[in-house]
């Protein structure tokens, strides 16, 4: 670290043209904002799709005015067909998992703040960084283009289990061109994530400024670093899996389709493929992906919390070790998605054990947060409310993991709404709360203006109560045997559950509408918010030491900062108040762990 040659590796002159400044920019801050914009567009589309799905689940024959405009054949008389429901569901999940939960907490905030938090001028490979965003953008366009092909997007779910995903058009609407576009989009997305991860890892290891030892990195930087290591290995598995899937469609291969497959009374021209192979490849990526979505949120929440608690974490090293343990274990647990898949039942037991064990580092993270809250001088603002809400959601979604880690109980809960409730709380809502906490916290630095606190709090209350109202009942539905991915509840025993679905739909519409308050706040504050000072939260880390707000093109002006402390010097007595900034040579108190 802090070698001059290295520290200047990412240096490039400030652009002058509009295109190089705002479109094809090499500046990590612009790229971070581009990722945020993409995630915002994606989340609004994903949420809109979920509204349509929820309306249909509550009132199956409901005509939704204008629905036919979204699809050629999927909504005769504006009533959703079964296949269109599945297509919306698949797109909702794909958009949310890849283009929101991976993009916003990791790529958006990480791009903007990781280089600043390590004290660098930029990332070491700015061209790769620019490419990573634009490749991701292309991946999004490819995915969305599947709405416009003949029979629409794929209906196979975001997990795209073979052989349904590999047999082609004969599998149903969207299973031809729709699947190919889906797999192409995800393969391209993987390239973007690999380039991004490479930059994040190198930034953290090689670009730290003088005095910035690894242990002096803020927890948000640790979150992004650990996530980038997971991203590099997980997306490297998903990409070839998608390429093989595309080959099954376009090159006549049979990676995922076995012999003797009969569709519509016709033998399919395939032999020798394995359907379980897809599941192994997919979940080898898929489970780390859960942690790719949530670990940056853990880092962001920790960072927001220490600032607003005005005291350090009980131990930031233990938090880092626990997040690292989650990352390592995340590769050993993926088989719990496959307990009843037909794989060897001994494997189920083997996968069950690390899945149960992973609750230990998760519990350590939560207990460290709670133990740190003890004796805090907690400030309540939009950012800290969402950070605390994250903890509540992470607990609620985490405890249901106990059930799904056990193969014997999974017999009853697999593929039910219990699973849907579990992952929506633990990786969906919790990660979203992390994004919101980060937005309210960092917006002043990114745009030089404060967000409106009253609107922020309204947004928080509606989201917190609303998310519980939507996703807690999912668990009850699952216990009662309500199977997921049904567009209507044909089995008799599911009929009494329909009123609960109606309740969930109303809660989802309400909670979704509350998100528009956030979007309004974002745009209005961007132009009309109160001007922000350089360090409005009296925080210590390097992003609050930039010479201007927003930071200049090279982040720190002519000289890179020198770091004297860990970033948790809160609750001390200093010339500035109760904190000492990392760049201040002022003597720190005894709790310096670095």
């Amino acid at each position: 670290m802090h070698d001059t040659a290295h520290a200047h590796a990412g240096q490039h002159a400030a652009p002058t043209s509009f295109i190089r400044k705002h479109v094809f920019s090499l500046d990590h801050k612009v790229i971070g904002k581009q990722y945020y914009g993409l995630a915002l567009a994606a989340v609004l589309i994903g949420m809109f799709l979920s509204w349509l799905m929820r309306l249909h689940l509550g009132w199956t024959n409901l005509a939704i005015p204008g629905l036919h405009l979204l699809t050629k054949n999927g909504a005769p008389g504006d009533v959703m067909t079964p296949e269109f429901y599945l297509q919306l569901m698949t797109m909702h999940a794909t958009i949310m998992v890849f283009f929101v939960l991976t993009t916003a907490p990791f790529a958006a905030f990480g791009n903007y703040f990781l280089p600043i938090q390590v004290g660098a001028e930029d990332m070491p490979f700015p061209h790769f960084n620019m490419m990573s965003f634009w490749v991701t953008f292309v991946a999004f366009l490819v995915l969305m283009s599947s709405f416009f092909v003949s029979d629409g997007p794929t209906l196979g779910g975001w997990t795209q289990y073979a052989p349904l995903s590999a047999v082609g058009q004969v599998g149903g609407p969207g299973e031809g061109a729709g699947v190919v576009l889906w797999a192409l989009s995800i393969a391209i997305f993987c390239v973007g994530q690999l380039l991004g991860s490479l930059n994040f890892i190198t930034t953290t290891l090689d670009m730290r400024t003088r005095g910035m030892s690894l242990w002096r990195l803020p927890l948000s930087a640790w979150g992004w670093f650990i996530t980038s290591v997971m991203g590099l290995t997980a997306f490297a598995v998903l990409m070839p899996a998608c390429i093989l899937l595309i080959l099954d469609h376009v090159a006549g291969t049979s990676f995922f389709v076995p012999a003797n497959t009969v569709m519509n009374d016709q033998m399919q021209p395939h032999s020798g493929g394995s359907t379980l192979l897809w599941q192994h490849l997919f979940w080898f990526f898929g489970h780390p992906e859960v942690y790719i979505a949530i670990v940056p949120g853990m880092g962001i929440v920790s960072h927001v919390l220490v600032t607003n608690m005005r005291k350090p974490m009980l131990s930031h090293r233990v938090l880092v070790y626990a997040m690292g343990a989650l990352a390592v274990l995340s590769y050993m647990v993926y088989g719990h998605h496959m307990f009843v898949s037909g794989m060897n039942p001994v494997s189920s037991l083997v996968f069950s054990f690390p899945t149960l064990v992973i609750t230990i580092p998760s519990t350590i993270v939560v207990l460290i947060w709670m133990g740190s809250l003890y004796g805090a001088k907690l400030r309540i603002n939009s950012a800290s409310l969402f950070a605390l809400g994250f903890i509540s959601m992470f607990i609620a979604g985490g405890v249901s993991g106990f059930f799904l880690a056990q193969p014997s109980i999974d017999i009853m809960l697999h593929a039910t709404y219990f699973v849907v409730g579990h992952f929506h709380l633990v990786m969906g809502v919790a990660a979203m709360f992390g994004i919101f906490a980060g937005t309210y916290f960092w917006f002043p630095k990114m745009y030089g203006r404060m967000m409106n606190e009253t609107l922020g709090k309204i947004h928080f209350w509606c989201s917190f109560v609303g998310a519980y109202a939507i996703f807690m009942p999912f668990h009850y539905l699952g216990l009662a045997g309500n199977v997921r991915r049904y567009q209507a509840f044909a089995p008799e025993y599911m009929q009494p559950l329909i009123p609960l679905h109606k309740f969930i739909t109303i809660a989802a519409l309400f909670t979704g509408a509350a998100q528009l308050v956030f979007v309004y706040n974002l745009f209005v504050s961007r132009y009309k918010g109160e001007p922000a000072s350089d360090n409005p939260w009296q925080a210590t880390s390097l992003e609050w030491s930039t010479p201007t707000t927003p930071p200049p093109h090279n982040n720190f002006g002519d000289t890179l900062p020198v770091v004297y402390h860990d970033p948790f010097q809160y609750g001390v007595e200093s010339s500035t108040g109760d904190y000492v900034m990392q760049t201040s040579p002022e003597k720190a108190s005894a709790h310096d762990e670095s």
Partner: protein, 267 residues
């Protein structure tokens, strides 16, 4: 605001727990011989997860209540046990929970998957395809005739691709659209998919197993209560997935024989 937040957390935690405690929405009644340990495991896990959920939400709410909006002179305090106490707590509390659940869970799982079907179990074959289940009974000869995938034809109602003209074993096979089993007799269910992935789920039977195209799998179970239940597909298999279901009738031995005779006559 902090106090309101804390109260909201308390209320949400309690309201969330009520339907669970009252079993407002709960698992269907168990009608299998292997289900009791699964249900017991579910109850134990619910108790442990429920206590963890309530306790942590309450502590979180209490800390938010107590440690927010400090007065100007307040000093920060450190949790007496420090990080070590938290790490020990996590290892001891969750570790013990994990070990207990893991060990007992192995037993419940082994009951289902690690015991072979009894020699006198009634063999039944189930074939899944978009979007229906078909069942096959071997008839008096006790053996299933071979499947010829190229002869499978919904149009000709040859759902299994049987060649009754040439295969002697196939002649007495009975193919049905509903499943019936005699009560208190072990059933050996052989599972086969003709096209994509599907699943066989009967909540009352405590059985859920995916079909894997290209592989024949089997499960075995004994139904203990006469009645009519639903078999549903839980693996996304295409546009008709939601409607892929069949009925399972658990019958007395006499009724089962009568049903079999009737079905045979219809072949």
């Amino acid at each position: 605001m902090a106090k309101l937040f804390a109260v909201t957390i308390f209320v949400i935690a309690i309201v969330s727990a009520i339907p669970i405690l009252r079993h407002t929405w709960w698992m269907a009644e168990d009608i299998s011989t292997h289900g009791a340990p699964i249900d017991e495991q579910m109850s134990e896990t619910m108790a442990e997860a429920g206590i963890s959920f309530l306790a942590s939400q309450f502590i979180l709410g209490y800390f938010i209540w107590k440690f927010s909006n400090p007065k100007p002179g307040d000093k920060i305090k450190t949790f007496p046990g420090g990080a070590k106490a938290m790490v020990w707590a996590a290892f001891l509390l969750v570790g013990t929970e994990v070990l207990a659940l893991g060990v007992f869970g192995v037993k419940a799982w082994a009951n289902v998957y690690f015991t072979p079907p009894a020699a006198n179990a009634v063999p039944v074959e189930v074939q899944a395809g978009q979007f229906a289940f078909y069942f096959r009974y071997p008839g008096p000869d006790g053996s299933f005739g071979p499947i010829h995938p190229d002869m499978i034809s919904e149009a000709n109602q040859n759902f299994y691709g049987l060649d009754t003209d040439h295969d002697a074993d196939s002649k007495d096979d009975v193919v049905t659209a509903e499943m019936a089993v005699p009560v208190n007799r072990e059933i050996h269910l052989i599972m086969h998919s003709k096209d994509v992935g599907h699943s066989f789920f009967v909540p009352e039977l405590r059985v859920q197993q995916d079909f894997v195209p290209g592989m024949d799998l089997s499960v075995h179970f004994t139904a203990t209560k006469i009645g009519r239940y639903e078999i549903v597909c839980t693996q996304l298999c295409g546009l008709g997935h939601y409607n892929m279901k069949a009925y399972l009738s658990v019958l007395s031995p006499e009724d089962f024989d009568a049903w079999m005779k009737k079905e045979k006559a219809m072949q």
